[in-house]
Amino acid sequence: MLIEPLLEIRDVSKTFPQPRTLLEVLARQPKRTLHALRGVSLMLRPGETLGIVGESGCGKSTLGRCLAGLHTPEGGEILWRRQPLSDIRRADRSRRIQMVFQDPYSSLNPRMTIAQMLDEVLFVHAPSMSSAERRDRTDSLLQMVGLSPGLKNRLPHAFSGGQRQRISIARALALEPEVLVADEPVSALDVSVQAQIINLLESLREKLGISIIFIAHDLNVVRHISHRVAVMYLGQIVETAATETLFGNPQHPYTQALLSAIPVPDPDIRSLQVGVQGELPDPLSPPPGCGFSTRCPFVMDKCEKPIPEFFDSGGEHHVRCIRAHSSTFSVPA
């Protein structure tokens, strides 16, 4: 590639050990682990928005938390401009990668005013700033996210969900990070407010040149904001492509099913329903082969094992499905 990636995620895996009951310990049953991430590889370029979609429990939040440093991956590595992220000190890492959380009602300390919150970030990371400089910077941060600095001496409970999410964004951007991990930043908000926050993120990305990893389950929102999209299923990426390619020509049956589930506001258009039966398999014991094989309408014997490799169908469109490998499947040259 011409542009060097900012972040490279290589084969990252993360498991969570499940607590055993006393009976299970006594019966010497093996420890069970939840496989949240199973060999995830992705890369992020400077200035782009990467959407990550998937149903709840697919590991998309875990991936975001690994990037922000809230979880430590067990396998694989995350590179920041070719340097392992694990070698970077916590304070330095926080100046590069910041995060906006899902729940605006729990992501702000209820005992601190907005001014105190932003001031603290600057105080910790820029000790050379005078308190007057910090006050000016706090005001300009609030203006940047569309809030009046006159409100800064209030506690979080005085603000609406949308305003709180703006405050969260201002707090994350106070350190001028290069990557912003947005973990379902609008799913807790009203639809009318969602659009405002999305547009704010989009304009901030353009103005500041940051990259955004946008985690969501709402496909319309992801389509609107992302340059590229990665679809996750059961701890794995099943398909990544540029947004229009993915939405125009989805190749993985799971992606096709997801897209066909988007409601179309026109009763004359009947979407081609790709049927998906059943529930997400137990992440404590994922299927040995393709993760989607238990629900896929096109399942074949070959799907049952091993885990299919990524297939590059050209133009940075990668699909983890053996049907994409076969010649009967149309592949753009």
Binding site: G69, F101, T113, R171, L175
Partner: protein
């Protein structure tokens, strides 16, 4: 200009009857203990056999005891002694227990497991048996009473705070502080502690009531503060031999204990409402 936060606090306070009444009663108590003894002429320790067991009247408002000492002066003087003891016996465990609970809950893992098992062990002992055996083994003195209470009472604060910390740790504002690269000390002190300490403060008020009962019970049993130092429990014990002839000797220190109990119960309820954040 008043800040919006201060304004909200004032509105909250003005609607909080429990807190207002509790503070008023506490003010009255402080006045009775610190100012009143200066105003009345009687010495709480002066023995005068000529004026033994005088019923409450104009000269001795609360009467006199069997040694002719003024009961009102002694109740007020005992208040100073008891409140001093209670302050140490509640505040020291509050600080120790809250710190242990905060660190234990925040760090988690083996440290947390070990500390909480220690708490479980201490919790399993009957409170009074433990206090009495410590005081009994080391001898009755104020210092040993401080030691006995401090060793036992911190576990309650540690438990309360730790439970709250486990809840607060899951809140996204604590995770946000971690992502922002703050030191763990800062996260504990500025982001976790202010959000977990309210139940401990409320319990501290209830604990004042429990401790005043504990201290006066030890005094009554002769294991706490020793005569002739005035102390409410000691005074009740001294008066019980002639409860029929001189009911006032035991009654007024008993009422003082009840008064303190009501005051701190009201304060606890009031603070619970006042300190809980909105939304």
């Amino acid at each position: 200009m008043i800040s919006p936060v201060a304004r909200e606090r004032w509105i909250k306070f003005s609607r909080n009857l429990n807190l207002q009444l509790g503070l008023f009663m506490l003010g009255l108590l402080v006045f009775a203990i610190f100012v009143f003894p200066v105003l009345i002429a009687h010495d709480p320790l002066a023995v005068d056999f000529d004026s033994a067991l005088i019923p409450p009247g104009a000269d001795h408002w609360f009467g006199t005891d069997d040694l002719g000492r003024d009961v009102l002066a002694r109740v007020a003087a005992a208040g100073l002694v008891d409140l001093q003891v209670v302050t140490v016996c509640v505040f020291v465990p509050f600080v120790i227990g809250s710190t242990i609970g905060l660190v234990s809950g925040y760090i988690g893992g083996v440290v947390d497991t070990l500390l909480m098992r220690l708490v479980d062990i201490l919790w399993a002992f009957p409170f009074y048996v433990l206090v009495i055996s410590i005081v009994g083994a080391l001898g009755p003195s104020v210092g040993n009473m401080y030691l006995a209470f401090s060793m036992v009472v911190w576990i309650s604060f540690a438990r309360i705070v730790r439970g709250e910390v486990l809840l607060a740790k899951r809140q996204e504002y604590v995770q946000a502080a971690q992502v922002l690269g703050f030191s763990h000390i800062r996260i504990m002190a500025r982001h976790v502690l202010p959000n977990v300490i309210t139940p401990a403060i409320v319990f501290m008020m209830a604990d004042v009531v429990l401790t005043i009962l504990g201290v006066t019970s030890l005094g009554f049993l002769g294991l706490g503060i020793q005569p002739p130092t005035p102390e409410w429990g000691v005074m009740i014990a001294e008066g019980r031999n002639f409860i029929l002839d001189g009911w006032w000797v035991s009654l007024f220190p008993g009422l003082a204990i009840v008064y303190v109990g009501i005051t701190f119960t009201l304060l606890g309820d009031g603070l619970d409402d006042f300190l809980r954040p909105k939304g």
